[in-house]
């Protein structure tokens, strides 16, 4: 059984479609990252799974429970960290977490040490007695994440968990999300940050205009780009034999070969790890000595570009 499964899921706001017949699955104890630009339907999908929004049509199930027909049961096994941490203006971080823990049925004796530990881990301990409205954007966001780290739900949803957070804070949040998965939670993360997706994802689903474009592991997605890996090859001496470049081009998975100087080549290949051994064999057979080889993988931004023809909007802090 999938932890999450949607079939032909549609969500419409008036005439505008936020989700257009989405088919999507998440395996148990997996971190699935939803990658897509703003307006791609990520947040709508998360809010629908969290039963905050009702689907227009289609089905969505969380741990086998239908979100439209069994919403209260669904809410009992999931937790969501929202994109914007707002609305608690006159509450203090510690009491927000105490309230959240109590609402989720965690006993005070159990929640108190967890709250203290989480506040310390997320560097919020010094701000624990500040009113929410006096917290910085990054602190408010970390507090939003802290709610789920304390709740430890069976299914945890994070909507852009590290936006507005500095790089060190991002790493800390990512580490805690990974630990949450180790403790048995299934995790769904929506982001438009490539680095966040690469750090966290077991699998990535690329969403665009309310539809699932592709879903796979990060490595498989990168390998799916024809000519996505770049191999920079430096020879000890200039290779004057004209057919050497042609031979390189014939290696399986080669998209393009470009000489950069008379002893350097740039090869655009599909899977760098498979291409390099074949290239070294060729060089060995032709008695060509290789000075250096450098393989550069495509980023998830390149993957997104390759599948959608558009660039992702990325956070400059990433």
């Amino acid at each position: 059984m999938y932890a999450v499964e949607t079939q032909s899921l549609i969500k419409r706001y008036g005439k505008a479609y936020a989700l257009k017949g989405l088919n999507f699955t998440v395996n148990p104890e997996e971190i699935m990252v939803l990658l897509g630009p703003n307006g791609s339907g990520k947040t709508t999908l998360l809010l629908t799974l969290a039963t905050v929004l009702k689907p227009t049509s289609g089905t969505a199930k969380v741990m086998g429970l239908n979100v439209a027909k069994q919403p209260t049961q669904v809410r009992q096994i999931l937790g969501i960290s929202f994109q914007d941490a707002r609305g608690f203006w006159r509450h203090r971080p510690a009491e927000i977490l105490e309230f959240h823990a109590a609402m989720c049925g965690i006993k005070k004796t159990e929640s108190k040490p967890m709250i203290e530990e989480t506040l310390k881990n997320l560097e919020l301990w010094d701000a624990r007695n500040k009113l929410f409205m006096h917290l910085s954007g990054g602190q408010a966001k970390r507090l939003e994440v802290a709610k789920l780290l304390i709740q430890r739900p069976q299914f945890a949803i994070f909507d852009e968990p590290s936006s507005q957070v500095d790089l060190r804070g991002k790493r800390t949040i990512w580490e805690h999300i990974l630990r949450l998965r180790e403790k048995g939670s299934t995790i769904l993360v929506a982001t438009n940050e490539v680095r966040e997706a690469e750090y966290l994802a077991d699998r990535v689903t690329i969403l665009d205009q309310g539809q699932c474009i592709v879903c796979d592991t990060v490595q498989n997605l990168k390998d799916k780009i024809t000519g996505g890996d770049i191999v920079e090859l430096e020879l000890e001496q200039a290779e004057n034999n004209a057919d050497f470049q042609e031979e390189l081009g014939k290696i399986q998975g080669t998209a393009k070969i470009m000489p950069t100087t008379n002893n350097k080549y740039k090869a655009y290949v599909s899977i760098g790890e498979a291409w390099v051994p074949k290239m070294t064999n060729l060089c060995y057979e032709r008695n060509v000595r290789v000075l250096s080889v450098r393989v550069t993988e495509p980023s998830l931004d390149d993957v997104f570009m390759s599948f959608t023809g558009k660039k992702l909007e990325t956070d400059t802090n990433a």
Partner: protein, 255 residues
């Protein structure tokens, strides 16, 4: 049920930090009653009304009740726009309990706001039984819930346009308060005015409270009719609010 109480308290705490606005409401009531009410009562010379300052005090409390009811609706809209409503909707409680918490929070706010003014008014009127006081308080709560339900029902407009919501609520409030019997007994109203006043729920609320507090029944509406209207208002508007929460709020973009 514990989670409903937690939710009420969590939200109420936010309102009470700082509790200045409640104290200011009490202060406003005191000033209005002991300066404006005292002066205007000297100008009113109608034997049917008796002491107009007391009549005015009850009317002012009814207006405060209406204000709290309206505030509950506005509060709900603010929650939607500030992002707290999606959080509440994601909590592991049923929608019915969430709605109950929102309603009880309005009730708790009403208790806080009218507690002191009501105590002053009751002390001023004097010679009241526990039953009459309890009936008056129950009437105020019934009116408060009815107005809150009405405003919650209207709050759906705010998801489309908060400006339109503000304009409608302000206009409606003005009409409902001014064209009612909160400040003037029904028998003294001109026929046209009376026709409109009979449509305001505040007329039924204020007349029923006055009846329980010992005012002359001849200047008031039929109490059976008033009870029926107030109960119908509370049940229907709260039902509408519940329906909106279940059917509509989850279908729209907010925050």
């Amino acid at each position: 049920m514990l989670n409903v109480i937690r939710l009420v308290w969590f939200d109420l705490k936010q309102e009470l930090r700082p509790p200045v606005w409640i104290v200011m409401e009490w202060f406003t009531f005191t000033i209005q009653l002991f300066i404006y009410g005292a002066l205007i009562s000297q100008l009113v010379n109608a034997p049917e009304v008796g002491n107009y300052q007391q009549f005015y005090a009850v009317g002012f409390i009814v207006m405060m009740t209406f204000e709290v009811g309206s505030h509950t609706g506005r509060h709900f809209v603010e929650h939607a726009h500030e992002g707290l409503l999606p959080y509440f909707l994601s909590l592991p409680i049923s929608r019915a309990r969430l709605f109950l918490a929102i309603t009880l929070q309005g009730g708790a706010e009403l208790t806080l706001m009218i507690g002191v003014p009501l105590a002053i008014t009751l002390a001023m009127i004097g010679n009241l039984t526990v039953i009459s006081i309890a009936a008056a308080v129950a009437t105020l709560f019934c009116l408060g819930f009815g107005v809150a339900g009405l405003m919650l029902g209207l709050s759906f407009i705010a998801f489309k346009s908060s400006d339109m919501y503000t304009a409608i609520v302000t206009g409606l409030s003005t009409i409902m308060v001014r064209f009612s019997t909160v400040l003037y007994p029904l028998i003294f109203l001109p026929p046209n005015y009376r026709t409109v006043a009979i449509m305001s729920p505040l007329t039924y609320g204020s007349d029923l409270v006055r009846l329980f507090l010992g005012f002359d029944p001849s200047i008031l509406l039929n109490p059976t009719y008033a009870v029926a209207v107030l109960v119908a208002l509370a049940v229907s508007t709260l039902g509408l609010g519940m329906l909106l929460l279940q059917r509509l709020v989850e279908g729209v973009k907010s925050g």
